[in-house]
Symmetry: C2
C-alpha cells in the first residue's frame, strides 16, 4: 500500500460515482463540478466511475442477440468499453471546469486480477501511476468494474464491481477516505419503501453493514465492505445528487470515537428480504457428516445459502432447513430429490412464500431482552415465526412473505421509533 497523502502532501479522497450519477452529459457535468469542488478544498482526488446509465444492460442485450452463451472472456472485453466511455467523458468535463484530469482504464490504473472472467478476484493494485498523476496536480478518473490479468487479458469484477474497484483503489493508494456517491444517500434503519420515516444512520461498523447486506439491505455490495474492513478504509455512503450528510461505514473503534454524538443503540437497523425460498429436508438421520454432505452437494450448484437452521425433531432424526435466494432456487431444485435420497431424508419441502426480517447491531445476542422484544412485537401482530437464526450481530426470523412488510414495521416501531 502506498501512502499517497504522505507523498503528495495533501489528503487523498477517492469518490465513486455509479451509473445513474453519470447517465447523461448533464449528469457528468454536475459530477465534474462536485469533483472539482472537492479538489479545491485542498484534497488530491481520485474518481472511480461506472458505465453511464443503462449502457452495461444495453451491451449485455446486444451480446445476447448475437450469442446466447457468449464466451466469458468476450463479455469482459465488451462490457469494459462502458466504463471507458464514462471515464473519458468525465475527464473531459473536469478539464472543462478548469482542472487538469486524466482517465485510466483498469489496466492503466494497475488493477491486477486473476483470470476468472466476469467475476475476477483482485490480486493487487499497482497504484504508482495514479499517485504520480495526483502528484502532478491532476484529478485521476478510473474506470470501475474492470481489471487486467498478468497476461494482459481484460477482466471484470462481477456484481458490485465498481464499488469493489473503488475500495480496492482507496486501499491501494492509502486514501484518507472513500466516498461511495450513489442514488441512495446513506444507510437507513429500514427500507424507506416499507417503513414511513426510517432514520439515516450517522455511521455503522463494517460488520453491521455486512450483516445488513447479507440480510437484504441493498446499499453496498459485501465484497467492497470486506475489502474496506480488511484495509480499514473508512467509507462514506452519500447521495451523488445533493450534499446531505451520508452514512460512514468504518471500524467500531473509529465510529465510536469520531461519531460519538450518535446515541449508542444496540439495534442499528431492520433488514428484510422477500427474495428467498425455504428448503427443508425432513427426517435427516442424526449422525456426523450428514450436514457437511448436504452443503458440499449444494455448493456444486452455485447456490447462495442465506440461513441454515437445524432443529432436533424426534429420536434420531433432524429437520434441516435453509434459505436460498429465489433466483438460485431453479438451479438447485432439480437436484433436491437425489440429495434427499442420498442422505436418507424422508422428504423435501420447498416453500417460496417466506421472507426474512432481521435486526442488526453489534452485541444483539448478548442481551436476551432484545430477542424477547423482537418476538413479542411479531406475536402482537399475529405474525408466525417459521425459523430463527442469530449471531452476535443479528437476529433473523423467517416469516410468511405476505406479512413481511408488517413485520418490518412492527420491529422498526419497537426498536427505532
Amino acid at each position: 500500500m502506498i501512502k499517497a497523502a504522505e507523498k503528495i502532501g495533501r489528503p487523498v479522497v477517492l469518490q465513486k460515482y455509479g451509473g445513474t450519477s453519470v447517465a447523461t452529459a448533464e449528469h457528468i457535468r454536475r459530477v465534474a463540478q462536485r469533483v472539482v469542488a472537492r479538489k479545491r478544498e485542498g484534497n488530491a482526488v481520485v474518481v472511480v466511475v461506472s458505465a453511464m446509465g443503462k449502457t452495461t444492460d444495453q451491451l449485455v442485450s446486444l451480446s445476447r442477440e448475437i450469442n446466447q452463451r457468449p464466451p466469458w472472456r468476450e463479455m469482459d472485453m465488451l462490457l469494459h468499453a462502458g466504463e471507458i466511455i464514462s471515464a473519458s467523458l468525465l475527464a473531459m468535463a473536469i478539464e472543462k471546469e478548469g482542472e487538469p484530469a486524466i482517465s485510466f482504464t483498469g489496466a492503466q490504473a494497475g488493477m491486477i486480477t486473476d483470470a476468472s472472467h466476469t467475476r475476477a478476484r483482485i490480486q493487487r493494485v499497482q497504484a504508482d501511476r495514479i499517485v504520480e498523476d495526483l502528484g502532478r496536480g491532476r484529478i485521476v478518473v478510473i474506470t470501475g468494474f474492470q481489471g487486467i490479468t498478468a497476461d494482459h487479458e481484460v477482466t471484470t469484477l462481477g456484481r458490485g464491481g465498481s464499488d469493489t474497484s473503488a475500495v480496492a483503489f482507496a486501499a491501494g493508494i492509502g486514501a484518507n477516505e472513500c466516498e461511495i456517491l450513489t442514488d441512495v444517500d446513506g444507510v437507513y434503519t429500514a427500507d424507506p419503501r416499507v417503513v414511513e420515516n426510517p432514520r439515516k444512520l450517522g455511521w455503522c461498523s463494517y460488520d453491521e453493514m455486512l450483516e445488513m447486506a447479507s440480510l437484504g439491505a441493498r446499499v453496498l455490495h459485501s465484497r467492497s465492505v470486506e475489502i474496506a474492513r480488511r484495509f480499514d478504509v473508512p467509507l462514506l455512503v452519500a447521495s451523488s445528487f445533493h450534499e446531505a450528510a451520508g452514512t460512514w461505514i468504518c471500524s467500531k473503534e473509529r465510529g465510536e470515537k469520531e461519531f460519538s454524538d450518535m446515541e449508542t443503540v444496540s439495534v442499528r437497523g431492520v433488514a428484510h428480504n422477500s427474495n428467498v425460498a425455504k428448503i427443508s429436508l425432513v427426517d435427516v438421520p442424526d449422525h456426523p457428516g450428514v450436514a457437511a454432505g448436504i452443503f458440499t452437494t449444494l455448493s456444486r450448484y452455485n447456490v447462495q445459502i442465506l440461513l441454515i437452521v437445524q432443529a432436533e425433531h424426534r429420536g434420531g432424526a433432524n429437520d434441516i432447513s435453509f434459505l436460498v435466494s429465489a433466483e438460485t432456487l431453479v438451479h438447485v431444485e432439480p437436484h433436491l430429490h437425489d440429495l434427499a435420497k442420498e442422505i436418507g431424508a424422508s422428504r423435501v419441502v420447498i416453500d417460496d412464500q417466506v421472507g426474512t426480517v432481521s435486526i442488526v447491531g453489534d452485541g444483539i445476542q448478548s442481551d436476551p431482552s432484545i430477542a424477547a422484544r423482537m418476538f413479542s412485537s411479531l406475536a402482537k401482530e399475529g405474525i408466525n415465526i417459521d425459523l430463527i437464526s442469530s449471531s452476535n450481530l443479528m437476529l433473523a426470523c423467517a416469516v410468511p412473505k405476505k406479512r413481511l412488510e408488517d413485520a418490518v414495521r412492527a420491529i422498526h416501531r419497537e426498536f427505532l421509533e
Copy 2:
C-alpha cells in the same frame, strides 16, 4: 515482419470490415458467417473491424456536449471504446458459428504508435500474439483505428484509421492478402453517382490508387495504400454485402502478371473533386525562394494543398495558384493578406467556384495524344480550363464547379466507354 503463413502452414488472410458492415447485430452475424467461410476454405483469418455504424459519431457528439475542446488524449480514450464493442461482439458471433475466436484491443494486438493523439503514426506491429492465436486455430478479431504507445497510452490513427490498421497488421504478420470489405465493391473508372455506367477495374497499381485518392476518389485512405505499397501487401477492395469480385490494388508488376486478362489501357479512371477552392497570388516577384516562402507559411496552418501551378505572367512577376480543400480554406483565409504582403504579391484572389477533373493512369504524360484528347473533349462541351497540372500518373484540370460533372462525363466517354 513475421511470415505467419510459414509458421502456421496455411495462407493467412486479413479481412477488414467498416462501420456500415457491422452496424447491427444482424450485420455482425452476416460478417461472422463470411469470416468463418473464409477460414473453412483452409485459411488462417485475421479480422480488423471498425466501430458499429454511427458509434464514433455519437461518441464525438457526446464529447462535444461536455467539452467543445476536449483534450486529445481523452478523445482517443473515448473513441477507442467503439471498436472494442464491435470486435468483442464479432468474436461472439464467430463463436456462435462454431469457430473459436478471440478479440484483441489495439494494445493486445501489438499496434505500437507514437503519442500524437487523434492522429498517431504507427511505429511497429508486434504481432507475436496474433500469430500464436492463429496457430491455435483461432480467428483473431482486432479493433481497428487504435493503438498504444510505449507508455501504455491509448491512441487513435485518425481518418482512414481502420484501413491503415488493417494494412499495417497484414504487413506485420506477412499476410498473403488483405481484403478491405466495405460499402463500395471496388474501384470504378468514375464515380457512379456522376457517370451512368462506369466499369469496375479488375486491378490498379498502388500508385494509380494513390493518385485517384488524392484527386478525389473516396475508396481507400492514401495512408493505407502507402503502407501496402511499402510492404507490397496486395489489397482487395470488395463489397462486404455481396460476393462480387472486387478490385485488386497491387504493384504494377504483380498486376500485369496476375491479372493479364485485363486490357492494358493507359487511362484507368476519371477522378473529380468538387470540394476545393482556388487561391491565386497575383504578381509574385520572380526570384528564388518565394514559392518556398509561401508554402512554408501555409504549412503552418495545417492546410492540405491539392495542386500547385505557377504560370509566368509578365516581365519579372508570376502568378502562383494552388487548390486547397474547401474545409481548410477557413483556416488559411485569415492569413492570406499578410502572406501576400510578405512576399510582395499585388493581390490575392480566392475562387471557390472551381472543381478538378483528372485522368489517372501509369504513363499518361508520356503520350501527348492523351492530353490532347482530354482537352478536346472539354472544349467540345464548351468547358473552360482554368488550371492544368500533370505528372507521370495523372493529368488534372481545374474547371468551373457548375460544369464539373459534365466534364467528368465527357472525359469518361472519350477514354473509357
